[in-house]
Amino acid sequence: MTRRFDKVLIANRGEIALRILRACRLLDLETVVVHSEADRAAGYVGLADQAVCIGPPPAARSYLNPAALLLAAEATGAQAIHPGYGFLSEDAAFAERVEACGLTFIGPSAASIRTMGDKIAAKRAMQAAGVPCVPGSEGALPDDAAAVGRIAATVGYPVMIKAAGGGGGRGMRVVRFASELADALAITRAEARRAFANPDLYLEKFLERPRHVEIQVLCDAHGTELWLGDRDCSLQRRNQKVVEEAPAPGIDRDLIARIGERCAEACRQLGYRGVGTFEFLYEDGAFFFIEMNTRLQVEHTVTEMTGGLDIVQKQIEVALGEKLALTQADVTLSGHAIECRINAEDPVSFAPSAGRITRWDLPGGPGVRVDSHITCGDVVSPHYDSLIAKLVVHGADRRDALERARAALSEMKVEGISTNIPLHRDILQDDAFRAGGVTIHHLEERLAQGRAR
């Protein structure tokens, strides 16, 4: 049987490029790695069947350049493009161009990406599927500030004004009192027009002490929509996740199963295909949808560790048009997994740390996994994201996973650049984190206390 594609172009870099390359190898697919001039010497580039330089170091002229990626696919005969995460992974126009060239975009349809990229459309789709959402405005806000004031009063202060085209913590503003509403609306609308080319705003109840809990889904094109598990990603700094774990501690498993089923139902109604993540805020025993990520996520690893599935491999199989040989009953969870994002940055100031790595000792032992593209002697480039490794541990239960994470971090030694390993060691000593269930503000509050001392 001929497959839809047998050569995949990996349109990304770093650890995720290597992760995708590994999944392709397991499926006997040829790989093309594209890279910028800055990544020419990277180890994973040499592992690919073919490697092509597509541009100079700035991402806008390499990894974010659709024309360069499509030319590279044409020149190498790749028939599919895997976008990874970040860069062009949630760019509906790029997905469309890939398909228009007769290639397979390894991800959902451009229409799905577009719907989920518009937060108002996404929320409407979720409400239709019975996914619980944060109470707020019905659709886009009117221009009239007095009318918005009435909506805000009904929802109840504090409220959050959000840009329909925003996401990932950008384009949002908290309003605590009615007197602040008009100014907040004007500023957010101006920002939205500038940053997202979409002036539409919506309004939601602002939750004071929520946790970030998300549901991983996997869907094929033959009517199978599965939810693979939940993750707690509440430990964040400036909306960037630092530590993730699966499952989310201390939440009723029946409640999570009901939410997971609603997510699978939403995928069914949307005709969603591929992997995706439904992000929720969780507060006082209730879930509230915030956004859907229509791509593979950095923290897919903790779900792999607890569910035993290779999510990237499944994602590619679905893109090949294969039918998932799984039912929801086959999806079981075992033990507990924790991921620490190891970044090349100062552990106190968080300034990015570029330079040459002179020591790179990785931990090992049962239940320890390190996803990284780095080898000793590599130079960390200042041009890209500072993520250099993901340390993932799996234990029989949460306590076991915490101990394995602590032991693994004590083994990990990196020299030549600064990393946030000391921050992770601190987090693992933190009583509130060890108890489980901290809010999305916990890490920043803890860091602020540390600075005050």
Binding site: V52, I54, A68, A75, T358
Partner: protein, 129 residues
């Protein structure tokens, strides 16, 4: 900057574990990239070389002759003028021209014809006349 000063800067960079260093003044630019070996690029506006390198601007297959012609577009040692097409990059059914950036003679081919090249791959050396 004197060579001895440059050596001192390199020692400091090594000690401070700084991977990439670039300093620019009105008339000079120095770039040091730590590695094995460490590379030092100095650009003071003066051209001391005997020619220029023509590099690929897009990924594709490097061709020195048009598929419907016999013989190369420009033979080794042949004269070229700035703007002349000296080779082709084939990307599927597209043949993108490789353009000479200066007048001179085609001194050397730096990549095997028919090879897959990427952005920045050196293709030719054009020697000044």
């Amino acid at each position: 900057m004197k060579v001895e000063e440059l050596r001192q800067v390199m020692r400091w960079l090594e000690e401070a574990r700084i991977g990439v260093f670039e300093i620019e003044s009105d008339d000079c630019r120095v770039r040091i990239v730590q590695g094995n070996p460490t590379s030092v690029t100095i650009d003071d506006g003066e051209d001391r070389s005997d020619g220029v390198i023509v590099a690929a601007e897009a990924p594709g297959t490097f061709l020195v002759q048009h598929p419907q012609h016999t013989g190369p577009i420009v033979p080794i040692g042949g004269l070229v003028r700035a703007g002349d097409v000296v080779a082709l990059i084939q990307i599927g059914s597209i043949y993108a021209p490789v353009i000479a950036s200066t007048d001179g003679t085609l001194a050397k081919i730096l990549t095997v014809p028919q090879a897959l090249v990427g952005f920045g791959t050196p293709l030719f050396e054009i020697a000044y006349q």
